[in-house]
Amino acid sequence: MNVAPDRGASAKHHILTVLVENKPGVLTRVAGLFARRGFNIYSLAVAPTEDDRFSRITIVVDVESAPLEQIIKQLDKLINVVKIDELAPGEAVERELLLATVAAPPEVRGQVIELVGVFEGRILSVGWRELTVSLEGSPSKLDDFEELIGNYGIVALQRTGRVALPKLERRTPDIEDPPA
């Protein structure tokens, strides 16, 4: 898995949420399909769902739509794949978690703490010359934070990969609708 140089959303950016059976080897099958077609997975997150028979995999890929259609159809053929939704970035709520250990010597420590505060992050661990912080939010917010905090020096960084669900539909009540 390569990390694309552009960490933000690109024109070819697609989010797939894939509901799979909670069985061993399923992630390999899913990831293997992408690998076999030479597609890069940009971000991947997997965890069990509300129903313990199933897990949900959120996959972000950067490909043109046409090959993506083929990928979706091939994914759908996997016996353990129950459901696939493609979420347009605008129609999804996306979240990601970032953990970072940043250089924070006494001279700049205040600035780092302030920056974490501005982004509504949290300080998890305090060391002599470093801080470990966490930040949760949309992937682009995390990108911004990463860029700014990078000015102080990042010692270690780990992001979870994004998770996403469709935005809820907001049906405006019809004028003709009879009162409930």
Binding site: V20, G25, R36, Q70, I79, V82, K83
Partner: protein
């Protein structure tokens, strides 16, 4: 009956065993019947419940507990000499009968030996179920003796695979394996079985027997009926087309749709090409038959597709060997594409009408829709198109120059003689190479399920074991394998299996002393630099080899000997027969569309004069 419709209606004369063939039949059908059993017994019992009559395989340490109960089972086990043979036999069985073939082998090297047939079956959508032994569950991941990550290795070449972790799951998993292999787009399924969960000496193998009547696979919903709206649009396109061609693929055979295909062709008067995988799906002696398209297809099949204004692709997948250079393929044609696998629609060429569905059901619905739209009387006058096709057929028939006296045999002559002196419903299996293409070109396939061949993977060594599997499945039929000398040397030892099991297949080796197809490419595209393709005509001595394996062996060198040898072989029915035909190594397969070029650049036999266009 556990099989899907499509396999249930197999033309096979063999009665399918019913579920009560096992002594405890009726009580077995409920999950609560709860008879204690060990996993090995349960596995064999589950295969019996699936109606399995024959297993092709070879035992070893890890699978021994499953082999043990075979002694008490009505299932016939055929002991192969190499696991690749077991896999191809299972495939040959499935090709010829439409029922799933079953192979069982041990862990490690046995499992890797069967990867080739798995991939072959995957590419050609052949329903087989392969059981592999595995080291005990607790030893998995420790690099134990003969451990191999079989499910990992076979993941990309199976429709699905299972690693059993609990003896209690065995009946359910076997049931699911057969269901997956035989429904939707058929394909190979592998079940990997750790030794401890089938070993009666191990407490982990204890289970309560049950038989699941239903399968519960929430992610598996093969499509069957096509979308009626799309079918109506397809019918409209058919009724409007001036130069339509039906492009029939192997899916026709898988869907048992040969009869309705013929009905559709006759109703509309549309000509039919049958791909390498579909040979036999439409009778070659039918006036609307065009034969095989593609790289070595005949001129008319290739060119009529190129010039068509509508291609009706039924169970075919626009393989590169058929399309040639894709952007130049059938440039003026609208496309109707019917496939059971939605992933095939638009994979290579975007259809104007794509219909996901079972070919038989969709064709039936198409026939109905055509009727509702006014029937074939609404079609434009297609006489000019028919005339054009006839003209191509007359101008560019398949041809070859007969051999001069004293020269080596022409392979085409051997095939014509074989074709004309075997029953019309004879099953023919082939290896991969020139002999395969000549067989497909020169044979007359008038019945479905008479052509057993490795199309997608192009596996040398397929013919002999596949023919054996076909003969086991259809003992009532004459079965010939046509093999190359190169291919034969890859799996010939399975004739030992055939001889000892009294499976009387017949093998025609076209011995041109070369890896002929490779030689042809070197001749045409590598300036006749024949690097590493010469095999020697005399080494091995095929006649002696055949005899050493318990077969009748013959060698034929001159045209006069061809017919008598074939007649003699046809009379032998108690053991396998091998005839080695010494053929001309210089002979090339024509026509040919060189790889990567447009189908317009088809090269015809030089006897037709310059170019073919």
């Amino acid at each position: 009956m556990q099989f899907s419709d499509r396999y249930g209606s197999a033309p096979s004369a063999i009665a399918r065993p019913t579920t009560d063939r096992s002594s405890e039949g009726t009580e077995m059908t409920t999950p609560s019947s709860g008879r204690r059993m060990d996993g090995g017994r349960a596995l064999i019992k589950a295969l019996e419940m699936e109606g399995v009559e024959t297993i092709f395989g070879l035992p070893g340490g890890a699978i021994l507990p499953v082999y043990d109960p075979i002694i008490d089972s009505p299932i016939r086990h055929i002991l192969v000499r190499h696991e690749q043979g077991a896999g191809h036999m299972a495939e040959g069985f499935a090709h010829a009968t439409g029922r799933p073939g079953v192979a069982m082998v041990t862990s490690g090297p046995a499992a890797t030996n069967i990867v080739t047939p798995l991939c072959d079956a995957y590419m050609d959508s052949v329903p087989i179920v392969v059981i592999t032994g595995q080291v005990p569950y607790a030893a998995i991941g420790t690099d134990a003796f003969q451990e191999c990550d079989t499910t990992g290795i076979t993941m990309p070449v199976t429709k699905h695979n299972f690693l059993i972790s609990d003896a209690q799951d065995i009946p359910r998993i076997i049931r699911e394996a057969f269901h997956i292999a035989t429904t939707g787009r058929p394909g190979p399924v592998l079940v990997d079985v750790p030794k401890d969960i089938v070993d009666p000496k191990n407490p982990r193998s204890a289970m309560d027997w049950y038989w699941p009547e239903e399968v519960d696979l929430p992610g598996y919903r093969p499509v069957t009926a096509g979308d009626p709206e799309a079918i109506r649009r397809a019918a409209e396109l058919i009724l409007a087309a001036e130069r339509p061609v039906i492009y029939a693929g192997g899916g026709i055979l898988k869907a048992r749709a040969a009869e309705v295909l013929r009905e559709l062709a006759e109703l509309t008067g549309i000509h039919v090409v049958t791909t390498l995988m579909a040979r036999g799906a439409f009778p070659d002696d039918h006036p609307l038959a065009l034969g095989m398209p593609g790289m070595h297809g005949n001129y008319t099949a290739v060119t009529s597709m190129q010039r068509s204004d509508l291609l009706i692709a039924l169970g075919s997948r626009f393989d590169d060997r058929v399309t040639g250079k894709v952007p130049a393929f059938a440039p003026e044609a609208k496309i109707i594409h019917v496939d059971i696998d939605p992933a095939e629609l638009g994979k290579v060429r975007r259809p104007d009408v794509g219909i996901a569905g079972d070919a038989r059901l969709v064709i039936e619905a198409l026939i109905e829709a055509i009727g509702e739209l006014g029937g074939p009387s609404r079609q434009p006058d297609r006489r000019a198109w028919g005339e054009q096709i006839r003209e191509w057929q007359q101008r560019y028939p398949l041809t070859y120059q007969p051999s001069e006296p004293g020269e080596a045999l022409k392979p085409q002559f051997v095939l014509e003689t074989l074709r004309d002196n075997t029953p019309d419903d004879c099953i023919v299996a082939s290896g991969v190479g020139q002999h395969q293409m000549w067989t497909s070109q020169y044979w007359k396939f008038n019945h479905p399920y008479t052509w057993v061949n490795s199309g997608g993977l192009g596996t040398m060594g397929f013919a002999v074991p596949a023919a054996i599997g076909a003969k086991v499945g259809r003992p009532d039929r004459m079965v010939w394998a046509v093999d190359g000398d190169g291919c034969f040397q890859m799996t010939a030892q399975e004739l030992v299996t055939a001889a000892s099991e009294r499976i009387p297949v017949k093998v025609a080796i076209l011995n041109n002393a070369y890896l002929g197809m490779v030689r042809q490419w070197q001749e045409m595209f590598y300036e006749e630099r024949y690097s590493e393709v010469y095999l020697s005509p005399d080494l091995p001595d095929y006649k002696m080899w055949a005899e050493a394996m318990g077969c009748i062996g013959m060698r034929v060198e001159s045209p006069e000997e061809v017919l008598p040898a074939i007649e003699k072989a046809n009379e032998i029915d108690d053991r396998p027969v091998v005839i080695e035909f010494r053929t001309d190594s210089r002979e090339k397969v024509y026509p040919m569309v060189p790889a990567g070029l447009s189908n317009d650049e088809i090269i015809v036999d030089p006897a037709h004069g310059e170019g073919g266009h």
